[in-house]
């Protein structure tokens, strides 16, 4: 069954991690969904590259953070915060492509 990520995540956000990076957090509603996403490698390098139209060298880190049931990844900014051509100084509105992630869930329970 195809499920949208917003059914299993309670927070999806982006923000500067310093002026040269943007970091993205996906916090899951339950440890089970966090483990499932880690196991199936749903937030893969390939998916991130496709969603943000970047090559792999722009991905600085993908981290699975158990204490917050969160997967986070960090991209090198296209343009440093505040430099010419920039559109989002704080980097807080770059999360939207993540809201469209759909995945195959084995036993879907709305939590």
């Amino acid at each position: 069954m195809l499920v949208n990520i917003t059914d299993v995540a309670r927070v999806i956000r982006s923000k500067n991690s310093g002026p040269f990076e943007i970091t993205f957090d996906i916090m899951f509603k339950s440890p089970q969904w966090f483990e499932y996403f880690c196991e199936k490698d749903i937030i893969s390098r390939e998916l991130i590259c496709r969603l943000y139209n970047v090559d792999e060298t722009k991905i600085l880190a993908i981290v699975h953070f158990k204490p917050a049931n969160a997967i986070k990844f960090t991209l090198k900014r296209r343009i440093p915060s505040g430099s010419p051509g920039e559109t989002d100084i704080y980097g807080a509105q770059q999360h939207a492509p993540l809201l469209g992630i759909e995945f195959e869930a084995p036993e879907y329970e709305k939590t």
């Binding site: 139209n53 430099s83 989002d88």
Partner: protein
């Protein structure tokens, strides 16, 4: 009464000038804190503030927050530590904040000893370090060149706990620090009194954002940290909020690349062995944080340099034909403007169109193709960056007038393509800065000299 040693820190607000409810602050004071501290800065608002030496926070509210904090601190002999004064922590920011403190001290008849710790690093010192190979870029940052250093208007380094400890040992009632590693402001006094460095810094890391790590989170409310020998407790100071394991752990992710390893001056916090325990409904206890010193002690340098002048014009379009062709229209306008100014050696610069309703927020990263944009109206911000203010004004003005009357293919509305909300339509925004330095530099002696001042009349 438990005889367990503890050190309580009252964090007033997420950023000095963001405000806090007086009731929360009073509740914090009733918990008899050993320290009142606040982080006053961030690089988030962009390079302008460091570059120009101005504060991104409002003077009236910085004064309001400081008045509560310093009055409470002085009358109860509790040290007050303010880090990254004025938002970016360079000399002009420090002077701005110091003037506010002197003003409020006089108005409230307060007198105390204040330590001021500048964090400015001279260009000469940075260039020497660069030449000696003692500067390394952070991930994703350009290699540093002499030009980056020489052209920067302000260069600061993030101080660790050491200068703040020196100031507190020197008997300062108020410590006003330039650019500082946020957790250091909260951790210095506790470490000076023998508490564990890793736990003190980790607690500071959370407290520097005050109630943002609680739920519901707020950047304009107080929070209390209770440091013990083998852990620390986070306590809300507003009955509307609580700290939960989830909210606390979630905050650890915030604005960080790797939440397990948090680098700072001289070392990094290692959270791989951390435990978060809910000890009652509102409070969380954290244990297991380690601090791993780096082989060499590095401090982070931040610098900004001017790169031109900006003039913008804000307009809207409500024409469906124009909206459906907006990409090609803007390209054609840009070409026409370029051909007009290319012969002018005095008009150097670039024009950027921010098209809201299409891809104004994400630019080229926007996954929705512009051909499928279905907005009934668009906002178009014309941004011109010129070598001089006059060049920026000219570029903006010519782009605006060309777009206003551009006869694009299929046009039916021939009286004007743009709706302007304002007269004048063009706004000169002054100097544009960029982050020129964001690098690590090996620590040297006397980078952060401590100076003491008597504020108000001595008793």
């Amino acid at each position: 009464m438990s005889d367990k040693r503890e050190f309580r820190v009252l964090s007033a607000t997420a950023i000095l000038g963001y405000g806090f409810p007086e009731e929360s602050f009073e509740r914090g004071m009733s918990r008899k804190p050993h320290l009142i501290a606040v982080d006053a800065g961030s690089t988030d608002p962009g390079p302008y503030y460091l570059g120009s030496g101005k504060s991104f926070t409002d003077r009236a509210f910085v004064k309001r927050d400081l008045t509560h904090m310093i009055k409470a601190g002085v009358s109860n002999s509790i040290p007050v530590v303010i880090g990254t004064a004025g938002g970016s922590g360079a000399k002009s920011h420090l002077d701005w904040c110091r003037e506010i403190i002197e003003e409020l001290a006089e108005e409230n008849k307060l007198s105390f000893k204040m330590a001021v710790i500048p964090a400015d690093i001279s260009k000469e010192r940075v260039l020497n370090a660069l030449n000696a190979g003692k500067i390394i870029p952070l991930a994703g940052v350009h290699e540093l060149t002499h030009d980056h250093v020489v052209q920067s208007t302000n260069i600061v380094a993030q101080m660790g706990m050491e200068p703040i400890i020196e100031a507190l040992k020197g008997g300062a009632q108020v410590v006003l620090a330039g650019r500082a590693y946020d957790p250091a402001n909260f951790a210095a006094l506790a470490v000076m009194e023998g508490f564990d460095e890793a736990l003190a810094l980790h607690m500071g890391k959370i407290l520097e954002c005050a109630a943002i790590a609680a739920t519901p989170g707020s950047g304009a409310d107080c929070a209390l940290g209770i440091l013990e020998e083998d852990g620390f407790i986070l306590e809300p100071l507003n009955p509307k909020r609580k700290f939960t394991c989830e909210s606390t752990a979630a905050h650890t992710l915030y604005e960080k690349t790797d939440p397990y390893h948090l680098p700072g001056p001289g070392g990094e916090l290692d959270l791989t062995g951390c435990n978060f325990t809910q000890i009652d409904e509102n409070r969380v206890r954290v244990t297991g944080t380690r601090h791993v010193p780096t082989e060499k002690y590095y401090v982070k340098l931040e610098g900004a340099r001017p790169i031109g002048y900006r003039t913008v014009s804000i307009a809207g379009s409500r024409d469906p034909i124009m909206i459906s062709r907006i990409d090609s229209i803007l390209n054609e306008v840009n070409e026409q403007v370029e051909s007009m100014i290319s012969k002018r050696s005095d008009v150097n610069g670039s024009v950027y169109y921010h098209v809201y309703g299409k891809n104004g927020v994400m630019g080229p990263l926007e996954p929705i193709p512009s051909s499928s944009v279905s907005s009934h109206e668009l906002a178009i911000i014309i941004e011109a960056i010129g070598e001089t203010k006059a060049a920026a004004d000219t570029l903006c003005s010519v782009s605006r007038s060309t777009l206003l009357h551009y006869g694009y293919e299929g046009r039916i509305s021939t009286a004007g393509n743009l709706a302007f909300p304002f007269s004048p339509s063009d706004i000169s925004m002054g100097t544009v800065y960029e982050f020129s330095i964001y690098h690590l530099m090996e620590m040297e002696n006397d980078m952060f000299p401590v100076t003491y001042f008597q504020v108000g009349k001595e008793d």
